[in-house]
Symmetry: D2
Subunit: 160 residues, 4 copies
Amino acid sequence: MGCREFAGNGLQSFLPMTPVTETRLRVRYAETDQMGVVYYANYLIWMEVGRAELCQACGFVYSEMEREDGIFLAVAEAQCQYRHPARYDDEVIVKSWIEKANTRMITIHYEMRRASDNRRLATGHTRHIYCSSEMRPVSLPEKYCRMFGVGASAAEGEKE
Amino acid sequence: MGCREFAGNGLQSFLPMTPVTETRLRVRYAETDQMGVVYYANYLIWMEVGRAELCQACGFVYSEMEREDGIFLAVAEAQCQYRHPARYDDEVIVKSWIEKANTRMITIHYEMRRASDNRRLATGHTRHIYCSSEMRPVSLPEKYCRMFGVGASAAEGEKE
Amino acid sequence: MGCREFAGNGLQSFLPMTPVTETRLRVRYAETDQMGVVYYANYLIWMEVGRAELCQACGFVYSEMEREDGIFLAVAEAQCQYRHPARYDDEVIVKSWIEKANTRMITIHYEMRRASDNRRLATGHTRHIYCSSEMRPVSLPEKYCRMFGVGASAAEGEKE
Amino acid sequence: MGCREFAGNGLQSFLPMTPVTETRLRVRYAETDQMGVVYYANYLIWMEVGRAELCQACGFVYSEMEREDGIFLAVAEAQCQYRHPARYDDEVIVKSWIEKANTRMITIHYEMRRASDNRRLATGHTRHIYCSSEMRPVSLPEKYCRMFGVGASAAEGEKE
């Protein structure tokens, strides 16, 4: 899977030869709050939805990574900048890409846009540590290194 | 732990010699939706909070039931009647009691009132099957039977 | 929009000439709990997602009903029977249909199945009262009556 | 209300003469995920719970700020570092304090600890813009300036 170009703001960086995915979802009523907009914690759930699709584009199903290899992507950090409020029934596009990855952790970036007019709603990132089911840090198995662009391109990943 | 009387509507029934608990919680902003009231699924979360305290009043900590005995209270049915909308920052009292229990399942009833004026917000129940960690039905171990009022009072529990 | 037949269990009923919709969604990690299955309150959120699509199949967008006509579908009752646990990454099909509707309330039924093997996960219903933005009951405007099958078929709706 | 000292890590800063609050909450089952720990988005909900209590310690009830003055604290940024996983039934202490405030925005910091052993679970912050009910930025009314430590101490607030 090669690196797909996308119309960014010129400041985004991502690992060469890793995918950029776009996930579409529709805002649920449950996700709004009495301000009439989406409650801020829900953007982190959308990141998770985007992340799952990014894993698939990398060549594996996240649930199988957990079940078959006992590797969990524990969240070490999450950050989100809210630029324009999403509202009920909006179609949202979550763009996800790996910004940095090595054998101990991975950083994924996200951009959320409203599908109707491409308005940028939010941007953010999550940083993950690979863990065992007992939540102990582990080194990323070889097969996932290739998928996350760690290895041949590990130099870039490590440096960043 | 004996049966504590409470001011019901005369229609409520509960197992003799099992507790009735009252749990207080404050409505979170996250729990509201754009209608300006609490989103309906969140009342089921409040039932869970009440249920945990009911377990404690029965003599055990639910998390230890899971961890030490491998018994899970899988939900088989949930029902809620919404009588008056709860709003952000309301203090809510969740009253919980066992309505029926035998060695295969347990039914817990709930009444949610607004603390400020005792207004009834919702009533409902959940029915649970005891399960192993693999989600297979199991018979309730003796030690929990006593706590849930199954055994000496099993006759009543079974009949209902 | 006519009434579409579907493979039910023979016990389901629905208003003639109103639609039956199928909504697909994928289980999010956020929706699971430490039992390893979907937390029970989330099925009510899936019902909401199905309901929105049912509205659309009836001929209107629910958010516009709120915004343009000031009509809200306040939940008066919700009920769910859990038959088989949904798990992370499962594709779920939510079937939704109007079981009963009159000028004061509407009852919608739901059936949730796992897409991979059509296994029934849950069934349930929600009952709604039409409300103003101040949460006061209102009579359903004529235009929605037609869409919900109230009117010509009101007799059936009322009787049920 | 004066500034209460607290045992920090020496790196924390907060506006002089504004309060530091501690809010206790118990982890709900709904907040866990299949990893057996609290799902990461829920920490942002806990921040909200801490924030509401911080507002109260500042001298006002957040819901009244919305209702009576039409001022909303729209989230512009949220960040959380996850240090140790919270688990079901843990009692969590959310420490909240104003790090920076001026007439246009406010930054609140949070530290979440497990009550049983004071273990630090997470730290983070939220940045808010004062908005009207139509989500348009507004200048903070005088009465809230005093409460947030903007004004006499505005110099510090602005500088930071």
